[in-house]
Symmetry: C2
Subunit: 190 residues, 2 copies
DNA sequence: ATAATAACTTACTAATAGGTAAGTTTCCCT
DNA sequence: AGGGAAACTTACCTATTAGTAAGTTATTAT
């Protein structure tokens, strides 16, 4: 099936993801990836025709990943708060590496992207949003969560707090993120 | 004092600001500015040595602007809600041109910026944050606003909702932004 | 054993990036 | 009237960008 190395493609995706979250989509190049992987930039082009294709694959990767998480959360015998914590933890981890959420990163470069990618990003957002909304909705129904906004609006609030929270954290520090993280839990808890 | 054109410098700042808010800092070039202004790119370099200097001037511009707004809000005989509305309106206007908050835009490219700019951005954030916090704090003291978080945390929540709200709006539409806008007012009102 | 193919490297493009040095035009001040 | 300076243009430069065509090496299926 393969010659030399089977997981170069996955490595490219891994590094590309890191670079986008740390520097931004328009700030990294194929040279950055090939340097870190110790291959030539043509090797990167071999696996992903162009930067758009790489981004496309990356977003699809996220979609797959979140689809899995959504399934797990639905099936898991966890309290709503615990489910939310599982989701929020992803942002906390980002924070610790001075990285930001990929959706936030892409959002800033959104107007430079081709329509095909824009559509995939919309798909990802709808997925994540729907997952949070569902978790909130279910938690409310079961009496585990209390909030007065609609689940959809509450999900919007929570998501924007988190996305901008990690962005803010790299400028003004992790304390601000922590304050936000605790507050968004309080908003749905008491 | 000047030859030919006195406001080229201001025009550069205006266009630069637009480009950053629409495409992002790393996605625009001096060529974009010079094209729109009908000058050569060397003319842009004449007014701003390099891209960093332009960004620096732009952030300083925002600082001046927000310092003025902060003064106005302190002096104005307005209810806290009206003051917040004045501030929030800026984000609503951004939304209408598919643009995002400059802080959010810079935050995504933050790790590609030199320290000098990073410090200026911190200064801007502290200013804006302090302004919102003060407005919230005063409003609470006067009994015009009601919220249980500390004014600082409430300011963090409000700011992150707005910053990510406009980012989200260009992807999933203005309705989501509107829902957020109304919700953040309800959070401090009732 | 060998043919096919996956996974590369080598060796290039053409376009754009940010940036500069030297000259030119226009205006103002004396 | 003439000097100086502000506000440019002309004409470059080097580095980097995304991208490609053709050749090489290693693996695998037959």
């Amino acid at each position: 099936m393969s010659a030399r190395n089977t997981d170069t493609k996955e490595e490219i995706l891994r590094i590309g993801k890191q670079l986008i979250q740390f520097y931004g989509y328009n700030a990294f190049s194929y040279a950055d990836i090939s340097r870190e992987l110790n291959v030539k930039n043509a090797a990167v082009h071999y696996h992903f025709r162009g930067k758009e294709d790489l981004l496309m694959a990356l977003v699809q990767n996220y979609i797959d990943n979140y689809q899995l998480l959504a399934q797990q959360l639905k099936a898991a015998p966890l309290k709503a708060i615990a489910k939310l914590d599982k989701f929020i933890e992803r942002y906390t981890l980002l924070c610790e590496t001075d990285s930001i959420c990929i959706i936030g990163s892409i959002a800033s470069d959104y107007n430079t992207l081709p329509d095909s990618v824009k559509e995939k990003v919309t798909e990802l957002i709808n997925l994540v949003m729907g997952m949070v909304e569902h978790t909130l909705s279910e938690g409310k129904r079961k009496g585990e969560l209390v909030f007065s906004e609609s689940p959809k609006t509450q999900a919007l609030l929570m998501m924007t707090n988190l996305a901008a929270g990690v962005q803010l954290a790299r400028i003004s520090g992790k304390k601000d993120y922590e304050a936000i993280r605790k507050a968004i839990i309080r908003q749905v808890k008491s």
